[in-house]
Symmetry: none
Subunit: 211 residues, 4 copies
DNA sequence: GATGAATGAGATTTCATTCAT
DNA sequence: TATGAATGAAATCTCATTCAT
């Protein structure tokens, strides 16, 4: 009987798992708050555990050392970000280039600004670890997604699409980061974002026409 | 830069003698090497002094605490960078927009890549201090310089020049940083740089024509 | 052994069922392996339980604390060793001194070397507890057994038999331990063992003749 | 001893000044006291520093980690012990075998018992480190010294001197250790020591006559 | 009974900074 | 003035033990 019992009838481990997930979430949230309030140098394992409401020991069961905590935080964030970009790009397959540019920039910009505190906290944290693997993976996924999108453009064909694509993502992601670092906010940020869209459209228009 | 630097972050004394200058240089160089080899977390005052060939005590004569060291390193670098940008912009007064864009981008790109190790070390170090004052000051100087340059363009007039200028510098500086983070190097970096020039030219052309 | 063991170091319960015995065996075996691979400092309760294939909780049912585990391991081993010595001595009652010496040394030497890993692990573990009770008890049993044997020697009578006996066991047990510590193995160990027998025989011959 | 010591276990710096020597002595003395009062498990770096009257930081300047401290303690002790044995053996060159045996055993026994607390502390500490290098080096020096002595015996020549020598030192050193472990003290210890001398003499007499 | 996640005291180690020489 | 030994607060991490499930 039990061999064929559906998974839904085995709730034994579920509460435990749910709790573990909540614990990890609390730890990440505490990390972000501490990064924002005191920067990387004030981020100590003791304080993270305390703020998260768990014991240090528990924290060390989920993260074998401090680096793993920071890495995990970045991994989770970049994973979510990559997914959003991929979804946005998929949604634009077959659209016109102008639309693609608009959606790409707005998606990325919104992802960065809707929880600006998290974004800032992560920018603060990356110096504390070897993040090249994470960055590379994220860059690869983003490049692939935008490339696949650009190839389906309804109104354009690009001679050197690899280069055009790489330029586009480097410019968009870089500009957003720099806007952040300069504390561009509110109306100013909106204006720059609109101009960035204009700029990228102008570029792609030119890149499509000339071989 | 020093004009706006908080008093607490100032070097204890201006090195007036040649020997003192050499000492400070050695300390900065040691800091950069250690940042590159072990990141911010391996950067200790003892190691810096040792690598620089001076005693900790001597180092504390020039930098009252560790933060002052990192701050000083960034200040010196951003000061030099700002000066290069200002010089490049001055050299372009009265030129055509295409030329301005080319020189701005090439100047900045070269400044970042000719000692890529230093650039990387500084990116690693910024998380360790409150750098907003430095960043703001640098952004202001860069904005002013490019703005003054754009206003003298031989072949263009911009309706909303403030926004156009802000967009331009945000895009250029952001893109360079992102190219760095993605480890774009060699031919790939050159190609993206050329495309960035193309993109900015297309943008300014459009911005000049339409109000 | 158990007669004199302090109450606090006693196993919580006597394993009566076969399964419980197997569990305790597995725990002891895991302890030995961990001692050999990482020394006393790497011996943690979690690792012992994991290696033994039981949960920590279960382990704490058999051993109320870590000390009890180490104590139990030593007690079991010394108990078995004492029994072997007693048996060997009993088997020699009425024999000649040369035979007694040979059997005593060979029995002890073999007991130590047939599972050299266990012997080594136990030498490593004793520093981690107050083992004087165990050592004393073992020494008493060994002394009694050899004493009883010597008194029945067919070809000798000893004036100060207490001293002769104490000297004999101290020399034999000490030499074996030292041979171990010096990593005497193979043919070298055999040669030293044979010489030890010769030496003890020479001593007892002399001790028997002179009052 | 230091010739074969692994680099990782070496003291961080050689104490050159008198004060530094006093500091290192105080640390060693504190270590011994703590080993005696609480065993290896109560030996913590904090307590050692506190008892020695220095700060932890200072302690870590002389010993890069706890293992190095224990290693250093043993190395110093075994070095002194080896020197005493070597001196005693040198003093016996050309003497008769009986005299050699007496001096060897009395020297070693006295070295172990005149500061019995230290001896005991060291026996407790050895389980906490990889001591094979130290033990090997000490054994080699002791073997060499006794061998050189035996070869000059005025009244004996040994066919298989290597084996005889190895047996002799293994027996003597092992017996002393065992006497210690059994807490043989006072008159009992003296009696056993005298018997050990007798035994070794009888052995060497026999070994010298028969090939 | 069995389990193993959670606990938190406490261990080891680091490192910015001072100050006697 | 230059040095670098000494300091000790504080950081990271471990692990024996408990207890809810």
């Amino acid at each position: 009987m039990s061999a064929t019992a559906p998974a839904a009838l085995q709730p034994r481990k579920r509460p435990r798992r749910a709790r573990a997930v909540a614990t990890v979430d609390a730890i990440f949230e505490a990390t972000i708050q501490l990064l924002l309030s005191g920067g990387l140098s004030r981020l100590t394992t003791t304080r993270v555990a305390e703020r998260a409401g768990v014991s240090v020991g528990t924290m060390y069961q989920y993260f074998p050392h401090k680096q793993a905590l920071i890495y995990g935080l970045n991994a989770r964030y970049l994973e979510a970000l990559a997914e959003r970009i991929e979804a946005a790009c998929r949604a634009c397959h077959g659209a016109r280039v102008d639309e693609m540019v608009r959606l790409l920039i707005e998606t990325y910009w919104r992802a960065k600004t809707e929880r600006a505190d998290v974004t800032r906290a992560l920018y603060l944290s990356v110096a504390g670890m070897d993040n090249s693997a994470l960055i590379d993976e994220f860059a690869r996924r983003a490049d692939d997604a935008t490339m696949a999108m650009l190839q389906t453009a309804a109104d354009a064909r690009f001679a050197n699409i690899e280069l055009v694509n790489r330029t586009l993502v480097t410019v968009v992601f870089g500009t957003v980061r720099n806007a952040f670092e300069r504390n561009l906010e509110g109306a100013r940020a909106d204006a720059v974002r609109a101009e960035l869209i204009r700029m990228c459209r102008a570029y792609l228009r030119e890149a499509a026409s000339s071989p």
